[in-house]
Amino acid sequence: MIFLKRQLPLAITFVMGIAFTFQYYIPHPVSEDAITNVSKWMQIISGFALFLGLASLFHVHAVKITRQVPGWGFSLALYVAMIGTIVIGFWSHGETKVDGGQTAFGWLYDYTMVPLQGTMFSILAFFIASAAYRAFRARSREASVLLVAAVVVMMGRVPLGQFLLPWTWDVTQWLLNVLNSAVRRAILIGVSMGAVALSLKIILGIERSYLGGGRDQ
């Protein structure tokens, strides 16, 4: 049993990892067939993984409702919205449009989910303005450089800035293409080396946290 719980998953990770690392360099029909099939399988397994995430959300709010913790009424609203959407979705066969006409599911998406999600994120505009006013101070030379770069980019990226101070456009272009690229590239190279090292540790069984905790770890 210990073999099934511990060694087998590590062996599968090792075999899959090694096989698909080398697959990239070996475009043989057998290896191409393997990646064709397995990538398709991964699509399906990822779909199941999605349900795993959604199910934990069901659970969190179900607990809030059954224990009637403060604000449980909102969790109930969440459940009603969720079950209502699922019922309407299945009733509409998962289609948002049929013959060019909108289904009830499509209506729900367009007039509830789109505005709600859009507004939730747009609200950050107000907080970024407030933060700019309260925290964006030239306390040091470094902070001053940051501030000047931000102001130049904000000017150079809108028509009014380009109209009033045309040079901000060229400076912004240079700043993004050269100075910003250098930093992003350095970070990218660093992070990628870390990612490759992590992948190797996973394949070799050194990093095992993805298997979850428990006594059999």
Binding site: M82, T112, P115, R185, M193
Partner: protein
Amino acid sequence: MPEAMLPTEVVLGAWVAAGLTLFIYSFLYKDNPLFKLGEHLYVGISVGYSVVLAWHTVFLRLLWEPLQKAVGEAPASPDSYVLLIPATLGVFMLTRFIPQISWLSRIAFAFVVGFGSGVAIPRTISSYILKQIEDTVNPLLTMGAGGLTMGFDLAAPQSGVNTIILLVGVVSVLFYFFFSVEHTGAGMVTARTGIYFLMIAFGAAFGYTVMSRMSLLIGRFRDLITFAGAAYGYATLVLLAVTVLSLVGWELATRRKTGGASPE
């Protein structure tokens, strides 16, 4: 000319969308039940939508229909049943909720993580490391009609002078992040240079983030302005008044309950 009548479902949709948008914006005054309702509805509807779409795509489109077709065409061939492998692994993944057999989910995770790590290594090295280094060490001199020349045009991203600046930036930022030795002498100069490069990039990122967030607000305001029109029954204006009155009522009721203290 009178405006064309909009279909009822569109007008109703406008009222719902405008109302929910204003509920969320009521947070700008302070956290309140209208915002909380909007927030929870958002999560509920998103999850519901995801469940429906995932079911139709994963179970029906990717699994059930191809399986049915393959088995229908060649019921005796083992190849027809090959999709049962990912289906089984997918079910294994869901066993994480059943403690007695949750170890089965490890097999599924091992399969996914092993594949993910395997395909990531060569591609990450090729795309993120080698290609990026290749462009960082571009030649400074180019052979033209007048012999070897070096470009000094700052406006041309690939010019020689920009290549030098880029190289200095990449090396100094990498040095700043990776060399945890004490930064003294030449090391300090390099690390300081890296910090200035970082500050400029953060400044650019801030500028772009402002641009992005303001664009989102413009998008929502566009809808609110549209829904404020006569064709939509002045939905935005009416609902704005309703939202404000509700907030006033809630504020008064809570103050009465807490003996004059503002609810926060």
